[in-house]
């Protein structure tokens, strides 16, 4: 039993994180050509609207929530007078709203990807798998928010912080209900898979666009100053 916990809640997360980091590096070096959002808006834009917007807003806020709730210890919140109960209640209500948004968006995207002929033809199995995996992770997450009734602040949260700070303690996960265990395990798996999917677009968020000048110039890649130019142009070809 100990070994199983060790494997699932220590070894597996680190495995996924390693694949996550090395996978992104490998992909960036070897396959930059396919590193993009793979937008399908050009083929179908009406049903994409609600799907893409609900999903993205929902998932990004969910990330913010997870980061704030799980990575920052409750003791810091206590300093600011936010008690564990208040924290849970905020997490619960915001979690319900953004979770539902993300899930609904994800299902809309999934439906579109399955039933719109064009989107289906242009997409790959990988695209479908990514959405399916997201649906599972988000689905179990939403289930937990609505029906889980379990305080994660003193179990799951410290366990995750333990992993992040390289002092893992799988025993913390022992009392956690099964649905939470499935959620976190699926999430680690998705993290490990993400470098090999279109999810790489997350790391290309164009922040520099906000600071750069509008028009960009680039020189041709060859060196030299131009002073060594050919002396006379060759006419392009012969014609009567």
């Amino acid at each position: 039993m100990d070994l199983v916990y060790e494997l699932i809640f220590t070894v597996f997360p680190y495995l996924c994180l390693t694949v996550f980091v090395l996978g992104h590096a490998y992909r960036y070096v070897t396959d930059r050509y396919k590193w993009n959002a793979r937008s399908s808006e050009f083929l179908e834009k009406k049903s994409l609207f609600w799907g893409a917007i609900l999903f993205h807003i929902g998932i990004i806020l969910t990330f913010v929530g997870h980061a704030g709730g799980l990575l920052i210890p409750q003791t810091y919140y206590d300093l600011f007078g936010i008690t564990g109960d208040m924290h849970l209640s905020i997490a619960h209500w915001t979690g319900e709203v953004v979770g539902i948004a993300a899930l609904l968006g994800c299902l809309l995207l999934l439906g579109r990807r399955l039933f719109n002929l064009r989107v289906r033809a242009a997409g790959t199995f990988n695209d479908l798998f990514t959405l399916g995996a997201l649906a599972i992770v988000i689905g179990t997450g939403v289930y937990n928010v609505f029906f889980g009734r379990y305080n994660v602040l003193y179990s799951v949260a410290p366990w995750i912080r333990g992993i992040v700070t390289f002092s893992p303690d799988p025993d913390l996960m022992r009392p956690v209900p099964l649905s939470f265990k499935i959620h976190v395990t699926a999430a680690w798996a998705l993290l490990g898979f993400s470098p090999f999917s279109r999810l790489v677009h997350i790391w290309s968020v164009p922040v520099f666009y906000f600071f750069r000048r509008h028009i960009l110039f680039r020189r041709r890649a060859t060196g030299g100053t131009g002073a060594e130019a050919l002396s006379s142009p060759a006419p392009g070809g012969k014609e009567g």
Binding site: Y33, L43, G224, S231
Partner: protein, 474 residues
């Protein structure tokens, strides 16, 4: 003053016969890949018409290009913040239906068909879904005014004109408009790209997409007012006309220009003052943009310009090519060529000589004093297309074209040079003959004047006889 060189093209619409020969080699060489079937880096439209993609000129629909707001130049689709917010779903992105759904035919079924009473026929099959489809729009759907009575109503160049009048059979007019990327001086596509994947080349101004940095945010597609950046639906990246840069670097002209049977195309360099781009693009009125644009195109025969360019490091063969530039003559020296929709404020660099057209029903002498007003193609339409509605430059170009014809006719047919019309349009005899020569007779190397790019600095000849071996090994 920062002097840069810009590769540019002039197309003489007076001579375009609408044969689409230019589009074919371009298609064959650059856009036969999966996801690119629908792309035509070069396409030939028939005017009046709404074009490819539908209504590309109408920025109330597409929101491409720049606009002046409170005296400040900004992207019409909205600034950086707007783009950040709408990145998950770009409201201004056209869909493939506005271009057309690409299709093909099962040609093989013609050969493999069993013997039947009737000839076998083949049905179009979508290249997107692989399913049979009914065609309702395609490339050149409006060719030679096909369906123009319905679609051409939406041509924005009818502004201030009664389109119903001009779409009646007895008044109808048409001309061809071959289109490619304008390789603008102030490209809205480059400014719209969140990833910084699009850029202008420092040396020749060609606008390119860095395929390894394109992340598929697709704002360049909607940002270009000429709709000349295309979205590859298979790879999820932007692709566009590359002005055949691998050829241009070798001093060869573009495929579209090389193959043009009407010999309507001219390719060459402009020298321009890069410090004044923002000022020109922010000209107060839409009609001020063209004169301001003309103003920053520098005279290569002015030694002050060439000296300064050389001092700033411009290669001698580039300066030499600029000196012999056919496009400079057509656009600036003779003012025959005009930009396409300067009001989009991207400062486009593919310019057009407006077409003359047959004279309409005979009018009583003196009734319409200006011959140009009796041409079938209304001047206003051309002005809306080429000069943001300012008729004067279009009139000047058309008057000059007709004066050159008149003069040459007097020389060649009547045997007596009649210079009467020349003076009124500001041409002298030598210039007129030069115009005639460039428009009618010019050979390949007069129409296409491009410098070769400086050779690769790696001195390839040093590797001769050493490649594949390692002479330094013990």
């Amino acid at each position: 003053m920062k002097i840069k060189a810009q590769t540019a093209m002039v197309l003489n619409l007076d001579k375009c016969i609408g044969c689409h020969t230019c589009s074919i080699p371009c298609k064959n060489v650059w856009t036969t890949r999966k996801g690119a079937e629908y792309m035509w880096f070069n396409n030939v439209e028939c005017k009046p018409g709404i074009g490819y993609p539908k209504k590309w000129e109408n920025q109330d629909v597409h929101r491409g290009g720049w606009q002046l707001k409170n005296g400040r130049l900004e992207l019409k689709a909205g600034g950086r913040l707007h783009k950040g917010i709408n990145i998950f779903h770009n409201p201004d992105l056209p869909t493939i239906d506005e271009y057309y759904e690409p299709w093909n035919y099962d040609y093989e079924s013609l050969i493999t068909s069993p013997e039947r009473k009737h000839q076998p026929s083949i049905r179009p099959r979508s290249q997107l879904t692989g399913k049979h489809m009914d065609l309702s729009w395609g490339p050149n759907w409006e060719d030679d005014l096909a369906g123009a009575s319905e679609t051409a109503v939406g041509d924005i160049n009818f502004r201030d004109l009664d389109h119903a009048l001009y779409l009646q059979f007895r008044n109808v007019f048409m001309f061809y408009l071959p289109r490619l990327c304008e390789h603008c001086l102030n490209p809205a596509c480059v400014a719209s790209c969140p990833s910084g994947a699009m850029y202008k080349r420092e040396e020749d101004g060609i606008v390119l997409v860095d395929q390894e940095r394109c992340r598929g945010w697709r704002y360049c597609v909607s940002g270009c007012p000429y709709k000349k950046v295309y979205f590859n639906w298979k790879t999820g990246r932007a692709e566009k006309c590359i002005f055949c840069y691998p050829r241009v670097e070798a001093g060869m002209t573009t495929l579209c220009a090389h193959t043009c049977v009407g010999r309507i195309r001219y390719v060459g360099l402009f020298l321009y003052d890069a410090d004044r781009i923002a000022e020109v693009a922010s000209a107060k009125e839409d009609t001020d943009v063209y004169p301001a644009h003309l103003d920053i195109l520098l005279d290569p025969e002015d030694p002050e310009v060439t000296d300064r360019a050389a001092a700033q490091g411009m290669a001698p063969n580039v300066i030499d090519a600029a000196l012999r530039s056919p496009v400079y003559k057509l656009a600036k020296a003779w003012k025959l060529a005009l930009p396409l929709h300067p009001e989009f404020r991207t400062l486009p660099m593919v310019w057009y000589i407006p077409p003359l057209s047959p004279i309409r029903d005979y009018a009583e002498p003196g009734q319409e004093s200006d011959l140009i007003d009796r041409l079938r193609i209304p001047v206003r339409f051309l002005a809306n297309l080429l000069t943001a509605g300012d008729e004067a430059p279009v009139r000047l170009a058309l008057h000059r074209l007709s004066a050159v014809r008149h003069y040459m006719r007097s020389v060649r047919v009547e045997g007596q040079a009649d210079e009467a019309l020349l003076q009124a349009v500001g041409l002298d005899r030598d210039t007129t003959e030069a115009v005639y020569r460039l428009l009618a007779l010019a050979r390949f190397d007069e129409r296409y004047v491009l410098p070769t790019t400086r050779p690769d600095a790696s001195q390839l000849h040093q590797f001769q006889g050493r490649c594949g071996f390692n002479p330094d090994a013990a």
